[in-house]
């Protein structure tokens, strides 16, 4: 019953035989050992498992690995460029956008998409952009701050 999947994760191609029921998040965590992507719920609510599949933010707990055959996946581990953090990671650090850090990878990956689609979001737009990501520590305010700070930094870098 195993199915062959071949996909690219953070630029590296992987080929594996998987059970069809293997969730993408478990493929990333248990098969590839990329444990930065977390699991925070079992009803697709929390967004801790968010990764980019072919550029689209998806909840990797709500996707089977077989569906991702041929896909290009980006996880939190693939976001920084060597020493240099991605501007969103950097902004989370500066604005104290994380406490326990458990929701953080999913939050950051979702925001990558939010800022890609809207380089200058309002506070309300950021808040609705991360409506599918739960954080129990921060009360969201610093995450929103971080997102807007990162957006400004990214705009400045492009200018």
């Amino acid at each position: 019953m195993a199915h062959a999947v071949r996909l690219t994760v953070n630029g590296t191609t992987h080929a594996h035989e998987v059970e069809p029921r293997l969730l993408l998040v478990h493929f990333l965590r248990d098969v590839l050992g990329l444990t930065g992507t977390h699991v925070g719920c079992d009803t697709s609510q929390c967004g801790a498992c968010t990764v980019l599949v072919d550029g689209a933010a998806v909840k990797s707990c709500t996707s089977f690995a077989v569906q991702a055959d041929g896909a290009d996946i980006r996880t939190i581990e693939g976001l920084a460029t060597g020493e240099a953090l991605h501007p969103i990671q950097q902004a989370f650090w500066e604005k104290h956008g994380l406490q326990c850090g458990f929701c953080t990878p999913g939050m950051v990956m979702t925001l990558v998409q939010v800022l890609e689609r809207n380089p200058d979001p309002t506070e309300a737009e950021v808040r609705s952009g991360i409506a599918g990501n739960l954080c129990r520590c921060t009360g969201y305010e610093n995450i929103v701050e971080a997102a807007r700070h990162a957006a400004a930094a990214m705009r400045a870098a492009r200018a």
Binding site: Q45, C46, A48, L79, L85, L98, Q99, C137
Partner: protein, 761 residues
Amino acid sequence: MAGPTPFRGRPLRRFEDERLLRGEGSFVDDMRLPGMLHAAVLRSPHAHALVRSVDASRARAMPGVAAVLTGEDTAGVLPNIAAVRREGMGETPIPEHPVLAHERVCYVGQPVAIAVAEDRYAARDALDLIDVDYEPLEPVMDPRAAARPDAPVLHPGSSSNVVMRTAAGAGDVDAAFAAADHVVRASFEVPRLAAVPMECRATLAEYDAGSDSLTVWTSTQVPHRVKTYLASLLPKAPGHIRVIAPDVGGGFGRKIEVWPEEVAVAYLAQQLGRPVKWAEDRSENIVTGQGRGYTADVEAAVASDGRVLGMRFRMLADMGAYFLTSTGGPPGNAVQRVAGPYAIPAMDVECLGVVTNRVPTGPYRGAGGPEAAVLIERTMDMIAAEIGMDPVELRRRNFIPADAFPYTTATGLTYDSGDFARALDRVLELAGYAEVRKQQRTARAGGPLIGIGVATIVKASGGKANVRNGEARVEIDAAGHVVIYTDVSPHGQGIETSFAQIAADLIGVPPAQVSVRHGDTDMLATGGGTTSSRGLAVGGSAAYLALEQARERLARAAAGLLGCAPADVSLADGSATSGSSSVSFGDVTAAAHREDGALVFSASYTLPANPFAFAAHAAVVEVDRDTGDVALVRFAAVHDIGRVINPMIVRGQVHGGITQGIGQALSEAMVYDAAGQPLTGSLMTYGIPTAQTMPRFLLDQLESPSPTNPLGIKGIGELPTVAAPVAVANAVMDALRGTTTRHIDMPLLPEKVWRALGEMA
């Protein structure tokens, strides 16, 4: 000459963050050991039932399954988890939690069996092959009914469902009521809440037979407590037990526990000789990780000028079916904290702990505080309404004055310092109290109803008994790297950064050169972990004492190098200075090392008395007349938390604490049906706040340093969660002041508010 700018008070970026931001954190479920097995737990689907039989033979025969442990296997082998004895647990036997249910299950979610297999998928599959024959029994669900003397008793052999009685009080309460101009009475229900740390519980255990040592990585706030319990619960106690809390994804009190699953996983690792990992699902986490759950009747005797002369509180705490280690804690806090910030001369407070067919409760952020705050702060608003006084004015008239500290309340708490009126004034300014009142008078008919509510609360930090003992050890190497070992076991509180700031101020080490190590029982002999907002007040103070010793030693070494007296040495910003000459911090540590061989400084600290922090919150809401929906339009908060080490971290704690409080006010509650089935057992039905529903917060703080500890700390972890829920509730009830409804229990869901709206006066 001005001294160097202290690191205390600076918003230093956290040292913990980079790893976490890169996805390189190490939470328990991220760990993998060679040969590791995975566990899954079969839980009771019934609130109350006899277990006639458990047949695991099909599961055991499943390929990939290494073992299935049932209550039959553990009965007589693994003892029950003993409750921590607390005041108020009298002669009545306290029902203790079995590791796995045997013969009887007493709540939905109670562990019945545990399957261990080669991977998590197989472990989960095995659960479907365990056949359990239950005979359902009538559950005891309503605490009020269960507390009556003639109620059916939940635990056979017990004489009553009331297993605990805590009380507090002083003064002549009867006289107060006899002298009262007004008597205000109200009844409350504070529902059970799920703590919902984003990381669910998880445990990994490895046993090495050669060295007879057991290592347990578990998502806990109290590694030392877990170690102590494992040593006494495991039938063949390993020679060496080490419990490690690696990265922990939030706790909020529900990881201050020794869970049956932790014991079972450790036992299985020992039995099977292979590492065993268990990571629970969110639905398991919600049905097992709960706090609060109170009902109460409150009476207040009030003079016509608004002074509260006396109060009576009769509370019932729904303890659940058994007592886990921390179940008995919150009621004792609640009975004392109902005094609030007020000088109420006579109080009579009692709380009965009642068993029901629900999961055991335990501390959830605030641990007795938020429940007490609801009772006193809602009652204050009802008193204000009854006598026609502004609730702010009523509070001012009853505050303990700023010059009365230390002040002992009628419930026996001694407050160290504070200036309540000042904090309240400031929060009113932030929230625009006067403008909102004006807006209310001129609001257009048919528009949303506007309400403003305040809450003023006091919260102790540091906990009780041995939780107030802290331990720390400081090691400094020749090159000047400082390692601080602490018994605090953080999960987001930024201890690694604030302790480094404390060290920088005391011994002059650059903060980046300090590592703070925690959450490992091999580091220190004892430890209270992270509970009761004790992190800085207790753990920080212990580190402070160890660092003071280090300072004394380094000053001596520096004096030798600089040719001056130790008293003339100043250690700051990476160097030791005397007059115009200075040497680097590294030179000093190298010199001290040459002399001593090793630089190790240990200290223990006992917090002599609890510091009390103060919060004043104000919420502004709009209530939709059509739907009853509540929109939070503004939220202001002022905290007096004593000295602040890192203001950025403090603000973060405040944001998160308020948000959890708003969740309690507007959406969160564990709802059970009459058969004892949880109806809110997943995040689909149990609603925690999202970014979209939260406002931006308006904050300020006061600093009344606490005289109780060397850092002047008061503690911030729980404070905002205590005040926020009732501030919101008071605001909503203020918006509904034109109705005949005096009170609605939280959560203030639209339908409840709509019903109240229907009762327009």
